[in-house]
């Protein structure tokens, strides 16, 4: 019996080994030759690994890039949050390009993960807004470390006009009549700054331990108005559309634009003119082995067509001045696409000096 079983086992194992061998052979020798023409061409520009937000991989923008440079093989690796991106890079992940935002750029520079960008290799550099090109935080020691691609405003308020009369001050968001109707962005920095504005702090990035405790107490007192601390914009929009929530605190202008297009009476506002600005772009990693291709990649994303696409379809503020000028005025008016003046008017998103304490306090706020 045992002998029979072991014979059967040997036969099964042999079949499995043969199958694996045949499959491997097929993949290596049958599929690979089909890719040969591309591979041969690709040797001209080579391979580029882009470690980026998903935005940079949408077919509408990415396909024209691969058509424009058929000899460039681009491998996209996507991250969904900047902490995740930093962790992966620190863990030894090798890529040519990374897409940080202005709040994480100093960390990347200080941890020696980036190399300077040569603007002479970017044909579209001069087409960017002057204020964007000269934005101080993208430069360090006279060297450029990030080419801005988009900017905008966040930490504003989107609300249902049919349910909420008006929001003019930050404290209005926490009005007890909106019991279980307010969504707060689950982000330590933005969440604390919004409460600091409600409590009339002048400089919300410089909060002492006592101030943070006061903010925690403020959230505790107003916990009844909060429906949930949200993390997904799509979820927040869905909750506002269904009427379960009336106010989103911590949103950009795009939410109200999309809600309006679905027939929902939504309004975006920056109470007391206070909001947080964001600026994101592309950088070249120290590990890059294809510097020329990295510059080509960046140059493409700051060129007019992709810039116009992101502005028109995704409502990002375009870094490219020509792309901004092409957007119809009506579109700008109804969608709330912002110009580069936002970068000087809004509070920039940065790390407070006592960030660890902020994170701890925010966890306590969320946990209630």
């Amino acid at each position: 019996m045992i002998k029979g079983v072991s014979k059967l086992l040997v036969v099964v194992l042999l079949v499995v080994i043969i199958l694996i061998g045949v499959t491997t052979y097929s993949l290596v020798y049958l599929v690979a030759p089909m890719q040969t023409p591309t591979t041969t061409k690709a040797t001209l520009l080579g391979k580029l690994v882009a470690f980026v937000w998903e935005d940079f991989t949408v077919p509408e923008v990415f396909n024209p890039l691969t058509e424009k440079y058929p000899t460039l093989t681009i491998e996209n690796s996507i991250f969904t949050s900047q902490p995740e991106m930093l962790a992966k890079l620190k863990g030894g992940f090798k890529a040519d390009i990374v897409s940080p935002c202005i709040d994480f750029l100093p960390r990347l520079i200080e941890q020696d993960l980036l190399q300077p960008i040569n603007t002479a290799k970017l044909s579209n550099w001069e087409n960017l807004f002057k204020s964007v090109r000269e934005y101080p935080e993208i430069w360090r020691g006279g060297k450029l470390y990030m080419v801005p691609t988009a900017f905008g405003i966040q930490a504003g308020v989107t609300y249902r006009k049919d349910k909420v009369p008006s929001i003019t001050k930050w404290v209005d968001v926490f009005n007890p009549t909106y019991k279980n109707r307010v969504l707060i962005l689950n982000d330590a920095r933005i969440g604390i700054v919004m409460a600091a504005w409600a409590l009339n702090y002048g400089d919300p990035w410089n909060l002492t331990s006592q101030d943070l405790q006061r903010i925690k107490e403020f959230y505790r007192e107003h916990r009844d108005v909060i429906l949930k601390f949200y993390e997904s914009d799509i979820e927040a929009r869905e909750l506002l559309a269904s009427g379960d929530a009336w106010i989103i605190a911590g949103s950009g202008p795009a939410q109200s634009y999309w809600l309006k297009s679905e027939g929902i009476e939504a309004e975006f506002t920056l109470p007391e003119g206070k909001g947080i600005g964001w600026l994101c772009g592309l950088s070249i990693l120290k590990t890059s082995e294809n510097i020329d291709a990295a510059h080509l990649y960046i140059d493409y994303f700051i060129s007019e067509e992709p810039q116009y696409y992101y502005a028109y379809e995704w409502l990002y503020g375009p870094a490219n001045e020509q792309a901004f000028k092409k957007i119809p005025q009506e579109k700008i008016a109804e969608s709330g696409i912002v110009g580069p003046e936002t970068l000087t008017q809004a509070l920039p998103l940065i790390d407070p000096p006592n960030l660890d304490e902020w994170l701890q306090v925010w966890e306590e706020i969320v946990a209630g």
Partner: protein, 290 residues
């Protein structure tokens, strides 16, 4: 000598058969688990700042800090409350199927109860969002029948919503062990109890309930253990409710303190193992496989 050969061959065949399973477990279970254990003894700070020095500070912090204590206690309370609600619903169903149906009818009905589990877990949760929302099916029905004038909001993004969704998801895991234990109680015991003067209520409390304790214990483990680490249901329908699973996920992905997150995970594993030991030791679970 022959015996040695036979035993040796049997052993080698057994080892060969177990090789894929062992390799799978080592690769996808033990190595990640050991990694988590190692991380939990390192010093960590937010945003992935890790120092590779041995320390117990993460465990001390988890068991002494007010935030983690509160989250831990709340998660336990929710898990136990959820189990009790499910037990109240599942027990009568299991009792009915085990005692009041003939042949394999009970088993067929159980198969029907299992069908919803074929649907994707997240889709089931999202379906409940549509049912429990302010303009959802539940409120529409209540208002149509004139039971309420205004939509009820307590069922959406609340603790109640968590219990309702878990009830739906975990009900079969409670019914099946209860059905098996109740059905395994010999009919003669009921007859003996009745012959000795017990009424139906007395039979239930003196015979059925004590002998179905192993089923209740297994149901408890099936519900309590996953609930302690649950994060999708609280995140999608729980509103402000913040459970241990959410706490650990945020420590890993948002705050980026992996050593502390790992220590929290291992503490959770430790606590659930202790609970499992107690349940197996004192609630007669052994009777099920003896």
């Amino acid at each position: 000598m022959n015996l040695k050969k036979i035993v040796g061959r049997k052993l080698s065949i057994t080892l060969l058969y177990s090789l894929p399973a062992v390799a799978y477990l080592i690769l996808f279970f033990y190595i990640p688990l050991i990694t988590i254990i190692i991380y939990s003894f390192w010093h960590g700070e937010p945003l992935y700042r890790i120092t590779r020095i041995f320390t117990l500070e993460n465990y001390v912090r988890f068991f002494t800090e007010k935030l983690s204590q509160n989250v831990f206690i709340l998660t336990n309370l929710i898990s136990i409350a959820t189990f009790l609600v499910i037990l109240i619903v599942a027990y009568p169903i299991a009792y009915f199927l085990a005692r009041m149906t003939y042949g394999d009818v009970g088993l067929k009905i159980i198969l029907l109860i299992l069908i919803p589990l074929e649907m994707n877990y997240l889709i089931r949760i999202f379906a409940w969002r549509n049912i429990l929302g302010e303009n959802g099916l539940l409120n529409n029905l209540l208002m149509t029948f004139g039971l309420v004038e205004q939509p009820i909001t307590i069922f959406f993004h609340s603790l109640y919503a968590i219990i309702i969704v878990v009830l739906h998801n975990a009900l079969p895991y409670a019914i099946i062990p209860l059905y098996i234990t109740i059905r395994s109680i010999p009919e003669s015991l009921y007859q003996a109890a009745m012959d000795l003067g017990s009424n139906k209520l007395s039979v239930f409390f003196r015979v059925t309930l004590p002998l179905s304790m192993p089923g209740i214990a297994i149901s408890f483990l099936f519900i309590y253990v996953p609930m302690m680490g649950e994060f999708a249901i609280p995140a999608l329908v729980g509103g402000k409710t913040y459970m241990l699973g959410n706490f650990i996920v945020r420590q890993y992905l948002t705050i980026g303190n992996w050593p502390y997150a790992s220590a929290s995970t291992m503490s959770l594993v430790l606590v659930t193992l202790i609970v499992m030991f107690i349940v197996f030791k004192f609630l007669g679970v052994r009777r099920l496989y003896e």
